[in-house]
């Protein structure tokens, strides 16, 4: 074969490896038990060479695992020792610092052998719903309270599973069957990846991945460096203040474009919080790197070489580089705010590229339901209480994304997270919860030439006979998304009970029988001055009810007559698409 011809073959193999890890990820979605994996897609899967360099990562999954996954396998090789890796082994950890940022992520690594020789590794990560301890939430004071810790170790050695480890896991978590089911799902998906890899090596008559690894990494490195070196040599600062748990947090970043690399340093960022919203550096790296890749090199696949030129640093024991034993369970709340912080700096270096600020972190909450404990008098109420059950229900929801330089923000759509919501009909089958409302929140997108995405309303109660604890995981109550280039801010998060009892944005809070929690999730901010907005788009927004008549007049200067004209046309069934 000529060298040109073999380049075609190498390209085929690169495509194949990306397809292999995609199969690996799909197998995980289909066999996993935790809602966070199977419904929300909070997972990751990848293939590595013998040195632990990541060659391909599945597109299915969420950005929080991007760099974490790339770094994980070298930790396993180092901890276990190269002489201690055998055919039939499977390794496991949930170390927040050597895995993917909190105890609720389990990472499983499997060495891949071909003709008795080690040829590479497969790794996958999944977010599981419970790992014991205080349960998923911000309330712990250290990582020891957050659940069971599994150091990097062997789950299986030469095909023999470690039943002692399995028993310890089972004895320490609330839903042992499901967690063990998820551990099996993780090792099954690596096994499926391994089989496909061996098929490929046989088809192309390979005895190692070395040549294809160099091809992938060389091409990726060159493409990434081309993009970076095309940027103007510049430096800028960015910052953002958010709610935090006990006090507001300042996120600060210093961004530098240099030849062959981008430096992103978080010096000046607030210190640790007492509660579990601190972020291990690996998770900070993931979201900082994700934000930069979206803006600079979006179509280059993630692997060791395409990620290496992005150098992310932060002072030890700042909230974005929390070290052991800081509590880190809700590291996503702060982690999801990192892209908007990076974009505050990037906008000064690359104008008209990045969006305005958005809702940022997902608007997740967990409901712990139980039979009511207050006094009941009527027989009907007693019967309802006696029929009531205990149940844990976790949901994933999104506010609005920030407006872009040339289009509106996205309504109720996750950014930067890559997860999905669950159907409310499915949620109501999981436990005795009733979602009374889940719809767009008009007027919550910041006004502008391009409007911020709308947040959403939710209203949550329980089936008759129950009361519940509500575990809130929200931000942007006091610090809404800020507009860019003259765009207005998005609406803040609001949380209360239906009798107007106020509630906090974070932490576990009791909700008595008969009460509902009323939630307004934040909108994205606007981009550009509202006065520059195309009046046709304003009319459409009014017709669709994205904005109210008042907002239309106040923000966009419409007269009452203009507003009435649109609203009357809507009544007659006229279309505004």
């Amino acid at each position: 074969m000529s060298s040109k011809t073999s380049n075609v073959a190498k390209q085929v193999m690169w495509n194949r490896l990306i397809s292999v890890v995609e199969e690996q990820a799909q197998a995980l979605v289909r066999t996993a038990f935790s809602t966070s994996v199977r419904e929300a897609g909070d997972l990751s899967a990848g293939v590595y060479d013998t040195q632990g360099r990541m060659l391909a990562q599945a597109v299915t999954g969420t950005p929080g695992h991007v760099n974490a996954m790339a770094d994980a396998v070298p930790h396993f090789i180092r901890r276990l020792g190269v002489d201690n890796i055998f055919e039939g082994d499977v390794y496991i950890t949930n170390d927040p610092w050597e895995g993917t940022g909190h105890l609720h992520d389990i990472t499983v690594v499997t060495p891949s052998f071909h003709d008795a020789e080690l040829v590479g590794f497969f790794a996958c990560t999944a977010h599981i719903v419970d790992i014991g301890g205080r349960g998923f939430g911000a309330d712990a004071n250290s990582v020891y309270e957050e659940g069971l810790y599994i150091p990097i170790m062997k789950l299986t050695e030469r095909g023999r599973i470690d039943t002692t480890l399995i028993n310890i896991i089972r004895g320490n978590v609330r839903e042992p069957d499901q967690l063990i089911g998820d551990v099996y799902a993780l090792s099954t998906c690596n096994e499926i990846g391994h089989r496909r890899l061996i098929d490929m090596m046989q088809e192309f008559n390979l005895d190692s991945l070395q040549e294809i690894a160099e091809f992938i990494l060389d091409n990726s490195r060159r493409a990434t460096l081309e993009r970076i070196n095309a940027l103007p040599a510049k430096t800028a600062n960015g910052e953002m203040r958010i709610d935090g748990f006990s006090r507001p947090i300042d996120l600060k970043v210093h961004l530098t474009f240099e030849k062959d690399r981008i430096l992103c340093d978080f010096a000046g960022t607030s210190g640790l919080d007492k509660k579990g919203i601190n972020v291990p550096l690996v998770y900070t790296k993931a979201y900082a790197c994700y934000a930069l890749k979206c803006a600079i090199a979006p179509e280059i696949p993630n692997n060791a070489a395409s990620l290496a030129p992005f150098e992310i640093t932060a002072p030890v024991n700042s909230i974005v580089n929390a070290v052991h034993p800081a509590p880190v369970a809700l590291r996503h709340v702060i982690g999801h705010m990192i892209p908007d912080t990076v974009y505050d700096a990037l906008d000064k270096m690359l104008p008209n590229t990045v969006p305005a600020e958005g809702a940022g972190c997902l608007c997740n909450f967990q409901v712990s339901l139980r039979p009511r404990t207050d006094d009941v008098e009527t027989d009907e109420d007693k019967a309802a209480r006696d029929a009531a059950v205990r149940s844990e229900v976790l949901t994933f929801n999104s506010g609005g994304s920030g407006a872009r330089p040339s289009q509106d923000g996205m309504n109720a759509t996750a950014f930067p997270s890559g997860v999905m919501t669950m159907p409310i009909e499915a949620t109501e089958h999981v436990g005795p919860v009733i979602i009374w409302r889940k719809e767009l929140r008009p007027d919550s997108g910041g006004a502008g030439q391009y409007r911020g995405g709308l947040g959403q309303y939710m209203e949550v109660g329980a089936v008759e006979g129950h009361e519940f604890d509500f575990q809130a995981m929200f931000d942007r109550v006091d610090h809404p998304a800020r507009g860019r280039q003259g765009g207005a801010d998005g609406a803040p998060t609001e949380i209360r009970q239906d009798d107007m009892t106020p509630m906090k944005g974070k932490g576990k809070q009791f909700v008595p029988h008969g009460r509902r929690v009323v939630l307004s999730f934040p909108g994205g901010a606007g981009y550009g001055a509202a006065s520059d907005r195309d009046p046709e788009l304003v009319r459409r927004d009014l017709a669709h009810g994205y904005i109210s008549a008042q907002a239309c007049m106040r923000d966009y200067g419409f007269s009452q007559a203009e507003v009435d004209k649109v609203l009357n046309a809507v009544k007659r069934g006229e279309n505004y698409s």
């Binding site: 089911g181 091409n219 999104s398 759509t413 109501e428 089958h429 007659r572 505004y576």
Partner: protein, 694 residues
């Protein structure tokens, strides 16, 4: 009373470019392709009908049955050409079809545009009411509020209304009351209920499905009415049936009521076509591969039955990417469709890798080789440069191809940046598109727990025979069949489809709370419902019911379909259900999970008349070598260089003759490539049977 000879049957497939018409007179088959007439699609049918009747020397009035499939429903959804439609939904859930899954289907695109919902926000109305997850009424519907809502519908002049209420698949009382109220006041407005169109859990999919149904209902109803009228004018007064997405046929009346079931009926016909060939050859594991101008479709056919699914996505807006379209939950033949066809265009990305599709050159300007100004290389251009196509005999000689234009486009777009000559660029392009298709097939097989090495491929559609052998090499598939009539495969498939209708319903049940009485009652109700639909098409034929329970471990999110015999369905016992599920789960994922409760979420019954069982053909014995005087240089990708190939006309390829690769079999509609690793033989039914050289 219907007229016509019951043995004279017409299959009609309206596609995006061509309307295919196939006439079978019992002994013979006649086919034609005419350009689709978008303004009045029935015109092309009448035109094609006249052509095939003339070929067969019969009068149109002799036609005894018409089976029709169409892409019109799909296109109306893609092009947003539906009726003035409103949605009525539960207070608090106005935006379900707009909020989707609240996620981005492409994570790295900051300028991502989400697809617009089929109905804008002001076309979505809410009403105070609520059903619980146990099917109980939490808030009663207020008739006065409904009445005022009907007034607003009237004022706005909506022609069609979709009703989708939370948990209505468990209790349809409120949806029915709303329909009654609309019918009473606005008899001309068409109403679609989510509890009838798609009675399944998950509000986004169900609401979107009922909205799609309502949106295309007036259009399809009027089209089907006009078609009936035009056919009568031609003295064709026979029953007309419609192919549905699940691979069966339904009455014209059912189709007009549930037009969303017609979406993807053309590709479903293709799968039925392949299944029919499979039965003729007694093949239990078949991979059907349908490659046309813009997309390739791949489907698994086990035991001569195409695999089915309960949900799929239509009108993808972003590179055929999962999540960028709208979900429709109806019984559908499960296939993967990717943007890889003869017209798919190639480019070079930032990593200096060749990318192919999903953009297509279409018919105007077409690939560069058409010589109509196309300057980007398409798959067809690469096929031409590699010698796989004869420039002078493309489409029966109706379009002459310009290899120099192909080479120019390949060099400019791929060769220049990559330092390759035109042929190497063409090789790279074809390898990439073949690999894309092979990867799609692999992922589909893995998702279904299948090993493709045990499969036989059946290839049809204009571009498939050019690429099928290479796919077989890549997938380790040892046998490939290219049937005759491959260019009108879907329309032939319509004529082979059984009458069938699938009824399904969401009903949660854990095996730990298994209630045999409820199960047998539910399944017999569904069986009655599905059978009634089929009975309306055929008063006499025996009707069989196929039962399925969708099961998973309690806590998982994905069910697997578990087939039940009628004995297991109607006299259910929990041990059998558990054993059946565990066997299927282990086959898919390698092992069962001990100690977990198992649950059933959806129940389905497919009532069907018997499939047309083909007489198995006797395989021909080799009786000599196919003769050929013509030879052509063709590039063999597995070998990596040009080889000398024998060229044989399909019409002159005799039964039992062996043709060793490298070879090329040509016909008007397509060209079959037999690479060096394979050999071909013609079977008595005209299929070209291509296997690994012994």
């Amino acid at each position: 009373m219907a007229t016509g000879n019951p043995h004279v049957r017409l299959g009609v497939d309206i596609g995006g470019t061509f309307t295919d018409v196939v006439l079978e007179t019992g002994s013979e088959q006649f086919s034609t392709k005419v350009l689709t007439t978008y303004g009045a699609p029935e015109d092309a049918i009448i035109d094609g009908l006249k052509q095939v009747c003339a070929k067969a020397s019969i009068e149109p009035s002799e036609i005894g049955q018409i089976i029709h499939g169409t892409t019109l429903a799909t296109n109306a959804l893609i092009e947003r050409r539906g009726a003035r439609t409103a949605l009525i939904t539960t207070e608090g859930f106005r935006d379900v079809i707009e909020m989707r899954t609240e996620s981005r289907f492409e994570q790295y695109d900051l300028d991502l545009t989400l697809p617009e919902p089929l109905l804008a926000r002001h076309q979505r109305f809410t009403v105070t009411e609520r059903i619980s997850a146990r099917g109980e009424v939490l808030i009663e519907l207020d008739p006065k509020e409904v009445e005022s809502l009907v007034g607003r519908i009237k004022e706005a002049g909506y022609e069609s209304v979709a009703v989708g209420l939370i948990h209505s698949y468990l209790n349809n009382k409120h949806e029915n009351l709303i329909r009654d109220a609309i019918n009473a006041k606005l008899p001309d407005v068409m109403v679609s209920l989510s509890s009838e169109v798609s009675p399944q859990m998950r509000e986004y999919e169900r609401f979107n499905t009922v909205v799609a149904n309502a949106y295309i209902k007036p259009l399809m109803k009027s089209y089907l009415g006009r078609l009936q009228g035009e056919l009568k004018k031609q003295q064709v007064d026979c029953p007309i049936f419609l192919m549905h997405s699940g691979g069966g046929i339904i009455s014209l009346e059912s189709a007009a009521e549930f037009p969303v079931r017609l979406v993807e009926s053309g590709p479903a016909g293709g799968a039925v076509f392949a299944a029919n060939i499979a039965s003729r050859y007694g093949l239990d594991k078949v991979l059907s591969f349908d490659m046309g101008g813009t997309t390739a479709k791949i489907c698994l056919i086990k035991n001569q039955t195409p695999k089915t699914s309960r949900v799929f996505e239509v009108a993808r807006t972003y590179r055929f990417k999962k999540g960028s379209g709208m979900p429709i939950s109806i019984p559908v033949i499960d296939m993967v469709e990717i943007g890889a066809g003869g017209g798919s265009l190639a480019s070079v990305d930032a990593m200096r890798q060749i990318r192919v599709g999903p953009h297509s050159a279409g018919s105007e300007p077409g690939p560069a080789c058409y010589g109509r100004g196309g300057d980007k290389p398409a798959v067809t251009d690469a096929d031409l440069v590699l010698g796989k196509l004869d420039p002078d005999n493309f489409a029966g000689g109706s379009i002459s191809l310009h290899a120099d234009e192909s080479a120019k486009a390949l060099e400019a777009v791929l060769g220049e940046p990559l330092g390759m000559d035109a042929q190497t660029a063409a090789y790279g392009l074809v390898e990439v598109v073949d690999e894309n298709m092979a990867n799609a097939a692999r992922v589909h097989a893995v998702e279904n727990g299948e090993d493709l090495a045990e499969y036989t491929m059946i290839a049809f559609g204009g571009a498939a025979p050019l690429h099928a052998s290479r796919l077989c090499e890549k997938l380790g598939v040892e046998r490939l069949l290219v049937p005759p009539g491959a260019g009108v495969g879907s329309a032939i498939g319509f004529l082979r489809a059984p009458f069938s209708f699938e009824a399904n319903r969401s009903h949660y049940m854990k095996l730990s709370d298994f209630d045999a009485d409820v199960v047998s009652q539910l399944l017999s109700e569904l069986s009655d419902e599905a059978t009634a639909f089929v009975r309306s098409c055929d008063a006499d034929a025996p009707i069989a019911s196929e039962f399925k329970a969708y099961m998973r471990y309690s806590g998982q999110g994905w069910e697997i379909p578990v087939s039940l015999t009628s004995e297991q369905a109607l006299n259910p016992d929990v041990q059998t259900y558990q054993a059946l599920f565990e066997a299927d789960y282990a086959a898919l994922f390698g092992r069962v999970v001990d100690g977990m409760d198992i649950e059933i979420t959806v129940w389905a019954v497919n009532a069907t008349t018997p499939s047309q069982v083909e007489e198995p053909i006797a395989l021909a014995d080799v009786n000599g070598v196919a003769q050929s005087d013509v030879r052509r240089r063709v590039f063999d990708a597995a070998v990596g260089e040009n080889v000398d190939a024998a060229v044989v006309l399909r019409d002159e390829f005799e039964t039992g003759k062996l043709l060793k690769g490298p070879a090329i079999v040509t016909e008007d509609e397509t060209t079959i490539i037999v690479p060096q690793s394979r050999e071909a033989m013609r079977q008595s039914d005209g299929c070209i049977d291509i296997t690994v050289q012994g």
